[in-house]
Amino acid sequence: MNRPGSFFLAAALASLFATAPARAQDKLEIFSWWAGDEGPALKALIDLYSKKYPNIQVINSTVTGGSGVNARAVLKTRMLGGDPPDSFQVHAGQELIGTWVVANRMEDLSDLFKSEGWMAQFPKGLIALLSARNGIWSVPVNIHRSNVMWYVPANLKKWGVSPPKTLDEFMATCKTLQGKGVQHPLALGENWTYNHLWESVALGVLGPEDWTALWTGKLKFNDPKAVKVWATFGQVLEFANPDASGLSWQQATDRMLKGTAAFNVMGDWAAGYMATTLKLKPGEGFGWEASPGTGGVFMMLSDSFGLPKGVKHRDAALKWLRELGSKEGQDTFNPLKGSIAARLDSDLSKYNAYLQSAAKDWKTNKVVGSLAHGAVAPEAFASQFGTVMEIFLASKNAEAAANAAQAIADQVGLGK
C-alpha cells in the first residue's frame, strides 16, 4: 500500500468512527405503507417534525401495497431479524396487539398518554381498543370509517330511488334499479373489498352488540344469527358486478360515479379519492349514508404508530409519537389524508363537508372495530378469513362458511 492511500484510508476510518455516534443520534426511521395518494399527508407530518427538530434526519421507509399487506411482511422479517424501525405504522387494535404486543415486542405508552393529557383527548372506546395487558400500545393518528355506502345523488334522482337505510330496503331498491336497466347496482372490487362488504353486511344483520360479541368469542360463528350473515351476504352479492375481482377499489368506485352501478360500499378513504383525486364536491358529486342497517354505528379503523422495544433512536421516536398525538399533528395530517382526527378537539374548519359529517358521527355514534382492517381480529384470523370467503363464494353455502370461520376462530383462539 502506498502512503497517501493508507493515509486517506486511515482518515476515512477515523472520520467514520468520529461521526458515527453523533449521526446515529440524529436519525429517526419511520416505517409505513403511506405512499402514492397518501404520500403527501405523511410528508406534511415529516415536514412538521423536521421544522421542530431540524437536526434529526428522518428516514421515511415506505413499502407500498393497499392496507399494508406488503409492508407488514417486510416489517415481520425486520423484526424477526432484530432490526426494528424506530416507529412503525400499524392498524390500531388486534393487528398490533395480537401480533406484536402478545409477542412482547412493544413498549407500553401509558406514561406518554398520561403526560400528554391524551387520556381525555381521545375517546374512551378508542383507548380501550389500543389497550391490552394493562398498557396502551400505540398512538392513533387518524380515524377512518368502514361502513359507508356511496352514491351519486343526481343519478339516484334520475332513477327515482332514495338511498336505502336497511338491508331489506337495499334489496328492494336494487331490484327496482335492475328493472330500470342498472344490471349490477352494487359496484364491488377485488378480493379484500369482499371482506370489506361482508363486515358492513354483518354489522347490519347483527347490530353492534352481537358484532362485538363475535370477536370476544361470546357469539359463535356457527350460531344461527351469524350463519344468517352469510345468507344475507349471498343475497347482497347477487346485485354486484360479476367481474369484481379484476377491479381495484378505485375502479369499483368509478363504476358508481359513471352510473353503471348505483352504490358502492367502501371505507371513507373513497371520499378522499373522490374529493381530492377526482375533484368532486362532497354532497353534490357524491353522496353518502351509513351502509344499510348500520345507521348510528361507526365501524372504525385507525392507523397508529407504536414504539418497538430495542430501537436505535428511542428519543427521536418518542418526539415523533408526541407530534402524532398532538392537535397540530393530527390537523396537519388528516385533511390531506382524507380522514378525521382521532382527537375530539380537532379544528373542523380545516376539513371538507364529508369529513365534518364523519367527525360528528364519530363523537355521537356507537363505535365498533373493523375486521377487514385489523381492529377486531388478530392477523392469524384475518388472513385466513379470505379462505372462508372463498369457501363461501365457491359453494354459496352459508353453513359451510360459518363452520370454517368457527374452525379458524378455534384454531387461533379468538377472544382469548
Binding site: 399487506v69 407488514r72 402478545v102 392469524a380
Partner: protein, 374 residues
C-alpha cells in the same frame, strides 16, 4: 517435501472452500432450518410467533397432516391440484410451441435471425413484466376479449383470471385411488416399452409391479379416505390465462433448446433419409424427434421446476389473494408472513422442495453417472 506433491489439490480445495462453506450454510443449512421449523408449532401460539426468541415445541408431522387432511386447509389441497394441472399444460404448451417454432426456423425462412430474436425475446423479460402485460390484456372488458370485434364479431365474455369456473372435478378422498391408477398405468407403459425393446425380464418385472399397484389402488386405497367429508377439487379455468402468459414467456426458450439440437443433427443423416425415400413427415417423426429426446427431457426438467416454484408471474397477474389462481408458493408466503403461521408455511415450502427434488434428483443422478462413464 511431500506436501508439495499435493499443492494442486490443496490450492484446489482452498479455492472451492468458500463456496462449499457458503452453500453448506446458505443452502443446506437453511433447508435444514426450514425442515426443522416445519416440525414445530412455531406460529400456533401468537405470543411466540414473533417473539424475539420464539420458544417452539416439536410436534412431528402435525403440520403436514393438517395440510393434507385438515378442515381449513382446503386451499392448500386445491393449490396442489392447480399446480399439477398448471405444470402439465405449461410443459405441453412450451414443448409444442417451442418445437414448432424451432422447426419453422430450421427451415431457414427469410429473416430467420429476426424471427429467432422475436421468439426468444419474451424470455428476456422478467415474469413480473410478463404478468403485468398479460394482466392488462386479460381484463374481462378489454384486450384479448375485444379481439373478435376486429372481424365484426361480438366481444368475448370469458372472464380469464377472475373466472370461478372449475372443470374435471374430483373428490380429494378419491385421490389415493387416482394416484394408484396413474402409477399402475405408468408402470404398465414402462413394461410395454421394455417389451418392445426386447428386454423381457425387465418387462415382466414392471408388468408385475403394475398389477400389484393396480391391486392396491382398487382393493386397499378406496378404504383410505383422508377427509371425513367430500371435498371437490379440479382445474380452475382462471389458470388458462396464466398458462398462456407462461407459455408465451418460455416457448422461445424451449425453441432455442430445440434449435441447438436441430443444428446438431448431421446433414448426412437427413440426406440419407431423403435418399431412402422418407418424406418430410417421416423425416421428423422417425429421425429427428427421437434424436431430440434428451433435449425434450432437459427442457421438461428446466420448465418443470420453474412451474412448480412459480410465484412472481401469478403474483403480478392475479395478486396474492385470488384463490382461483393460487399456487403453493403464494400460499406459503401468505401463510407465513400474513398469517404468522411460520411452521405451516415452512411445511408448504418443504413440500415444494420435495416436489422439485423428485424432478431434479433423478436427472442429476443420471447426469452424474454419464459423467463418470465418460
Amino acid at each position: 517435501m511431500r506436501w508439495r506433491k499435493h499443492t494442486n489439490q490443496i490450492t484446489g480445495f482452498l479455492v472451492v472452500l468458500p463456496s462449499i462453506v457458503l452453500v453448506a450454510v446458505f443452502v443446506y443449512g437453511f433447508i435444514g432450518r426450514a425442515l426443522w421449523a416445519s416440525l414445530t408449532d412455531w406460529g400456533k401460539d401468537p405470543s411466540q410467533a414473533l417473539a424475539l426468541n420464539p420458544v417452539t415445541r416439536f410436534i412431528g408431522l402435525q403440520n403436514y397432516r393438517e395440510l393434507f387432511t385438515g378442515f381449513i386447509d382446503g386451499r392448500f389441497r386445491q393449490d396442489m391440484v392447480s399446480t399439477v394441472f398448471f405444470t402439465v399444460f405449461f410443459l405441453a404448451g412450451c414443448l409444442l410451441f417451442g418445437l414448432l417454432l424451432a422447426i419453422l426456423i430450421d427451415h431457414k425462412p427469410r429473416g430467420e435471425a429476426l424471427f429467432r430474436g422475436v421468439f426468444l425475446f419474451p424470455f428476456a423479460l422478467s415474469f413480473v413484466v410478463t404478468g403485468t402485460i398479460w394482466r392488462w390484456l386479460l381484463q374481462p372488458g378489454g384486450g384479448v376479449n375485444q379481439l373478435p370485434t376486429l372481424v365484426g364479431l361480438r366481444p368475448a365474455t370469458f372472464e380469464w383470471l377472475t373466472s370461478r369456473q372449475q372443470v374435471w372435478r374430483f373428490d380429494w378422498n378419491d385421490l389415493p385411488v387416482i394416484i394408484g391408477l396413474l402409477a399402475a398405468a405408468t408402470l404398465a407403459a414402462v413394461a410395454v416399452v421394455a417389451r418392445r425393446a426386447g428386454r423381457r425380464r425387465r418387462a415382466i418385472g414392471f408388468a408385475l409391479g403394475s398389477a400389484a399397484v393396480l391391486g392396491l389402488a382398487v382393493g386397499v386405497a378406496p378404504g383410505w379416505r383422508p377427509l371425513p367429508f367430500p371435498e371437490l377439487h379440479g382445474f380452475n379455468l382462471a389458470f388458462i390465462g396464466i398458462v398462456v402468459a407462461a407459455v408465451w414467456q418460455m416457448a422461445g426458450y424451449t425453441m432455442a433448446l430445440y434449435l441447438a439440437g436441430l443444428t446438431g443433427i448431421p446433414e448426412e443423416l437427413r440426406e440419407a433419409a431423403v435418399v431412402e425415400g422418407a418424406n418430410e413427415w417421416q423425416l421428423y417423426t422417425r429421425i429427428i424427434l427421437p434424436l431430440m429426446a434428451p433435449i425434450t427431457l432437459s427442457a421438461m426438467i428446466v420448465l418443470g421446476h420453474i412451474s412448480l416454484k412459480i410465484f412472481d408471474l401469478v403474483f403480478a397477474m392475479a395478486g396474492p389473494d385470488n384463490a382461483w389462481t393460487d399456487v403453493p408458493a403464494l400460499l406459503m408466503f401468505i401463510t407465513t408472513f400474513r398469517g404468522n403461521q411460520f411452521a405451516k408455511g415452512a411445511a408448504i415450502g418443504v413440500i415444494l422442495l420435495v416436489l422439485v427434488a423428485m424432478i431434479i434428483v433423478p436427472y442429476l443422478r443420471s447426469q452424474l453417472r454419464k459423467g463418470v462413464r465418460e
